[in-house]
């Protein structure tokens, strides 16, 4: 494994962005697409090469690191632009590049004929570049650069159709909400720098291992602040409000944000800081509880959505919540496992949803979807596979990861925690069942369907295959070191292993039966009794709207934050700016003008007046000099 080749992972997307961004106007669409695909395909090949070498190497030799140059240097404190490819970064890179590559292929078909074709691919490549930078950085500051870059790209892509005001608003909302989280992240980085004089992950891990006990509160505060950033980027309650609105972007963008890149960043960062997290169990508890709240809340909100993509968006929030539950339980490998499986089936769901929306000519309202199985069977099969994986039905990918997370939470936090998280999983099954109505039952759309082309079918099909087999990574079941966790090699906090295997097996079997049962019941209700369900929804309009608005959190934000801010802004604009500042500025101008008018009287325009005044001045100076010399 040659560290000098690491930059090969980063350079192609950046180059692709430059080529498409700077010269795209002159290139035909086919070349734009080819450049964009190559920009993601090449590093994918490089990453696969690294993976082969890495699996062959012994566990302790699985780290490739290189330092490109020193960015900042202040005495002992240094920030290097350094890349670090360890198993964690490897898995993340593969998720980003693998799913990202399929999304790029899909976009070639999906965005065909759009005016912003080349702009779209330029942004997509930039997005992948920043995400890779985030993942491969070997220190917090460089990660933050990638972090902000991803935020920028999400803004650009969510607001991609910038003629639509709602798209612009959604882009701004994503940016601003992320800013709130990043505020914490920056504070966390600054605290790290002041407390430990380093931002390097390796050195931080050493510090976590060797620091004396009284350093624990500082570490806890630091991690908590950085977790605030992770909450913003990974859309955790209450900083999740941007994600449902982010559906304004083109569907491949949603797939990229949800499946491959952005929302995973927070989970990745927490895993990256696992040596520090292990020292502060209280923070782990906070993370787990917040993750659980988010999982439950978002699953409930998903149930109330009427828009196909918004259901998926809330489901993403909910699933990321499960990932944080895993992280908070100290099972970092499990969090990453769920991240991988979720990346696959959520990417799949979005791509397939894009194909469905394309078939219906841009219709996103669930109420107008139904019976599409016969029209687009390939897409429907892929979508249903994704739904089953999301709900966690054996033997699809989601079953393994979710089961392990539930067990991990039970082991660490006890039965009540398990019950709540299980209800979250059951709610997941419920809203998955709701989506079955799209494909079965009577047709609800009018007009002939636009059948999607091959480019819209194959990427989800490949991902569906992935959703079927990704569970292999979690084998063997009921064991601490699965395939993936052995590869990742995380150090977890010690777990009291009091409960035996039998309980775990019993719970797995229980969940494996209850979840499909809920899914089947829900699917039955939403396919066969769909009209009844809709009548039910109409009977309680306020409750339905409450769910659909995500518990009215946006309104709460507007009331608590926007209204006072707007008042203050108005006061500052009308009183402070208009009266005081403008008054002062205009007053100065007025006074200067008056003084100028007065002084202008001295300017007669007569040359001899000027000459005489010069002469008088010279005589006066001469007289003063002679007087000073004592001549008279």
């Amino acid at each position: 494994m040659n560290p000098d080749c690491l930059w090969l992972l980063l350079a192609p997307p950046a180059l692709g962005f430059l080529v498409n961004g700077l010269m795209g106007r002159r290139l035909p669409a086919s070349i734009t697409a080819a450049v964009a695909l190559a920009a993601v395909g090449l590093p994918l090949a490089v990453a696969l090469g690294f993976l082969l070498e890495m699996t062959a190497a012994p566990p302790e030799a699985r780290v490739v690191a290189t330092s490109l140059y020193t960015w900042l240097s202040d005495g002992d404190f240094q920030v290097r632009v350094g890349l670090l490819l360890d198993p964690l970064a490897m898995v993340m890179s593969l998720v980003v590049l693998g799913i990202g590559f399929l999304i790029h292929i899909y976009s070639v078909g999906y965005m065909e004929g759009d005016v912003g074709y080349r702009r779209f691919f330029a942004y997509m490549n930039l997005f992948v570049f920043f995400m890779l930078l985030l993942v491969l950085a070997d220190n917090l500051v460089l990660t933050f650069c990638g972090w902000e870059g991803v935020g920028l790209c999400s803004y650009l892509l969510i607001g991609f159709w910038h003629e639509r005001k709602s798209a612009c608003d959604a882009g701004r909302k994503a940016f601003i909400v992320n800013r709130v989280g990043d505020f914490g992240f920056i504070l966390g980085i600054l605290l790290t720098i002041t407390a430990f004089q380093t931002v390097d992950y390796g050195e931080l891990a050493e510090i976590a291992a060797t620091a004396p006990g009284d350093a624990s509160p500082i570490i806890a505060l630091m991690v908590l602040l950085i977790f605030m950033g992770a909450m913003g980027k990974s859309a955790q309650f209450p900083l999740h409000v941007w994600l449902p609105d982010a559906m304004e972007g083109p569907t491949p963008v949603s797939a990229l944000i949800h499946g491959a890149t952005m929302v995973n960043a927070g989970v990745y960062l927490m895993c990256r800081l696992s040596p520090l997290l292990n020292r502060c169990p209280e923070v782990l508890l906070v993370i787990a509880v917040l993750g659980l709240v988010t999982a439950l809340y978002a699953a409930l909100a998903a149930l109330g959505q009427r828009d196909l993509k918004r259901i998926l968006a809330y489901s993403t929030i909910s699933q990321i919540g499960f990932m944080f539950v895993a992280v908070g339980s100290g099972m970092y490998a499990l969090g990453i496992f769920h991240l991988v499986t979720h990346g696959i089936f959520k990417g799949l769901l979005f791509l397939a949803a894009g194909a469905v929306i394309h078939t219906l000519g841009g219709e996103q309202d669930l109420g107008r979807m139904g019976g599409l199985f016969r029209e687009i069977p390939a897409v429907a099969v892929a979508f249903l596979a994704g739904l089953l994986a999301l709900a966690g039905v054996f033997p699809l990918a989601g079953f393994f990861s979710k089961d392990a997370i539930l067990w991990g939470g039970f082991q660490r936090f006890g039965a009540s925690f398990w019950i709540v998280s299980l209800s979250g999983a059951l709610l997941t099954a419920l809203y998955c069942g709701k989506l079955f109505g799209v494909f079965f039952g009577p047709r609800r759309d009018e007009g002939p369907p636009h059948r999607p082309g091959a480019l819209l079918i194959w990427p989800p099909a490949v991902l569906a295959l992935g959703a079927l087999i990704a569970g292999v990574l979690g084998l063997p079941m009921f064991a601490q070191d699965t395939l993936l966790s052995r590869f990742l090699g995380f150090a977890s906090p010690a777990v009291a292993s009091g409960q035996g295997h039998e309980l775990e097996v019993i719970m797995t079997v229980f969940q494996g039966m209850v979840i499909p049962a809920f899914l089947a019941a829900s699917a039955y209700l939403f396919v066969r009794r769909r009209r009844r369900m809709e009548e039910l929804e109409r009977a309680f309009p306020r409750a339905a709207a409450f769910l659909a608005d995500g518990f009215g959190l946006d309104k709460l934000n507007a009331l608590l934050l926007a209204t006072p801010l707007r008042g203050a802004a108005r006061f500052s604009a009308r009183i402070i700016d208009n009266r005081i500042i403008d008054g002062a500025v205009n007053g100065v101008g007025w006074a200067a003008m008056r003084a100028g008018r007065l002084l202008a009287l001295l300017q007669t325009g007569e040359l001899r007046h000027y000459a005489l005044s010069i002469l008088a001045g010279a005589v006066a100076l001469l007289g003063a000099a002679l007087y000073a010399a004592g001549i008279f």
């Binding site: 002084l599 009287l601 001295l602 300017q603 325009g605 001899r608 000459a611 005489l612």
Partner: protein
Amino acid sequence: MTLYHFLGLGLLLFAIGAAGFVIRNNAVVLLLCIEIMLNAVNLILASFARYLYGAEGQIFIFIIMTVAAAEAAVGLGIVIALHRGHGTLAMNRIKDLKG
């Protein structure tokens, strides 16, 4: 004949030039008056060189002569421009600087 005499003569010539600059109306004559003043200064410098300081006064004179030549060239250019712009050289009619 002493330094005193030359200084007196220089002062007198300077006074005549300055007075002429104030009382005459024609732009060309104003330039001539400036030349008188410059020459008066030159005379004073030459006499200082002669009676007190040696060579340096003469070098100053050369420099002043150069400045005078440059001043005459630019000044006459201005006179031509004035004449073209105002159709007259009477300074009491040219008051572009009035505020």
